[in-house]
Symmetry: C2
Subunit: 335 residues, 2 copies
């Protein structure tokens, strides 16, 4: 039923070796023979079995990506960037998410050992970093989409998180704000600490002291953004700005501020992070620090692909720039 290389060889009156040679344009083949073989291939609609090729060659054309839940819009964007790049290279991409915790990691490890793929992309690694390190040591090419320099032993791509924090701070300072609430993500993340550092350092460089009580650790959910605002308000603290470490948190802050009767941006200016599609749909639309999410995914995929081609990993992480996108929640300062 399936057309095999043997069928092609027979129909073309040559050996399987020769068919293989024209298939992979490897070794010298007589031009006329090659043409004949190609014709037969077309006529029969022959496509080599990826399994057989993979087995014979010891590797195939399949990559895998391990990513957080796709319900996080930024993960979906990064993944889309990776898919596009992988697809363009003619590779397949196996998708694993961290939906089911340890159990699902175990299953993942099984696939790895089964060498079902030839390279791995890890998006925002957390506790699975050990697993990644083990694989890496095993010889599996691994690339991380991650925070700068947190895992220096891996090739990785990252964004300028500290600069992002700085951009947010400069903008709020220019708007005359002096008492911002910072809703961070989980502070075990290096990216989060970098954003915070960049923000606070910039504030202080401009003579604005940042009261630590105005830094609240969130978990990147809408709810945590709202709660941070509610709590601060309940404590009687005042604020004239919010810098949330992601757009979802900023959206939550927006809701809580409205509920508390604070006007945005007049009373409180709000700046988010990421620039996911949601950011343009809130009321008012969010000013935010844009991360080039698709580009991150694509760059990581390309890096992995080039490693498979035997190119050495870059000494430094690949770092893509963040930039400020100004919308109504923290408009451009009037000159």
């Amino acid at each position: 039923m399936r057309v095999t290389i043997a069928d092609v060889a027979r129909a073309a009156g040559v050996s399987k070796s020769t068919v293989s040679r024209v298939l992979n344009s490897k070794g010298e083949v007589d031009a006329r023979t090659a043409r004949r073989v190609r014709h037969v291939i077309d006529r029969l609609g022959y496509v080599p079995s990826s399994r057989a090729v993979g087995l014979a060659r010891g590797r195939g054309r399949t990559l895998a990506v391990l990513t957080p839940s796709l319900s996080w819009p930024w993960a979906a964007e990064v993944l889309q960037g990776a898919v596009d790049a992988v697809e363009a290279a003619g590779y397949g991409l196996l998708l694993f998410t961290r939906g089911r915790g340890r159990e699902s990691m175990a299953r993942f490890a099984g696939q790895v050992s089964a060498s079902a793929f030839d390279g791995l992309l890890v998006v925002e690694p957390e506790w699975q970093i050990e697993a990644a390190a083990t694989l890496h040591r095993t010889g599996l090419p691994v690339v991380l989409v991650d925070d700068r320099a947190r895992h220096p032993s891996f090739p990785c791509v990252a964004t300028t998180n500290a600069l992002g924090g700085e951009l947010a701070a400069r903008h709020l300072l220019a708007l005359g704000r002096r008492a911002p609430l910072v809703v961070t993500g989980p502070q075990r993340f290096g990216s989060v600490r970098d954003r915070l550092d960049g923000f606070v350092r910039t504030l202080e460089a401009h003579g604005v002291e940042h009261d630590p009580r105005r830094t609240v650790e969130g978990d990147f959910t809408v709810r945590s953004g709202a709660e941070a605002v509610e709590k601060l308000l309940a404590d009687g603290q005042d604020l004239d700005a919010v810098f949330a470490h992601n757009d979802l948190g900023a959206a939550g802050a927006l809701q809580a501020l409205r509920a508390a009767g604070r006007r945005v941006p007049e009373d409180v200016a709000v700046v988010g992070f990421d620039d996911v599609p949601l950011a343009a749909c809130t009321d008012p639309p969010l000013t935010t620090v844009r991360q080039p999410l698709r580009e991150l995914g694509a760059a990581a995929a390309d890096l992995l692909l080039s490693r498979l081609d035997g190119k050495p990993p870059p000494a430094e992480p690949v770092v893509l720039p963040t930039e400020l996108v100004v919308r109504d929640s923290a408009p451009a300062p009037v000159p």
Copy 2:
């Protein structure tokens, strides 16, 4: 380097056949022999090569999914549901998106012929339906996540779109609205026509005539939702409600209404469709017809898996229910 079945056989003092038998618990194996083999497997950390197994058996444990861009939040949710189900079954999932049109479909077709996977999930098929049909004929198990009964020759899972339209209409009628704008998706989609039908029929069943000029075809983008409202307003038509066929469109309508000085929900009530995460973050939060997106993905995956196990496809499409989620953009009617 790689531990093979031969290594295990040697270490356990048995043949490869026997190792294979205990691996697949197939055929009779002496209990003690089996135990010994298992020990060796554990000790050596042996995992069968998925490629070799696939080649020998003629099929492996890999599925593929062909889905629209993950930038559509609903696609990301459906995909997440599918990943979870596939992963739980111990299968791998190869991801293809329609990012690059025909070119990417060609590449996709290549992977298919290479039998890189054993079953295919198609999410919201449009022009690639022919390709799917061809594959299906070839013997590849295919399952669709699609609109009810549009492709009766495929096993598929769908939602109650007409009912969704009806729910939206009933809610708006209960709020006393009589002049709704309907922003549809592309009307070539069966789901879109079903939603529209359900909506209009319900209106008319309640003695409310629906002026066809108040049905505007959109393309599921935020922009198209906003434009539909702007155009209607520019034409001097009046409206007291909007029913958008997806939440993004509803978010766009919200923006345009605000810009036009209409209050939501007082002047204009707005109902969306899907209930993606964004829906809870708009101002006001969206009342919307919820689609069980993850469940759709999971159900499709399970259906595909059961087909691979040789179970016959269900005669009828699997249909999951939509339900109305009431938020502030169209609040519950006061009794």
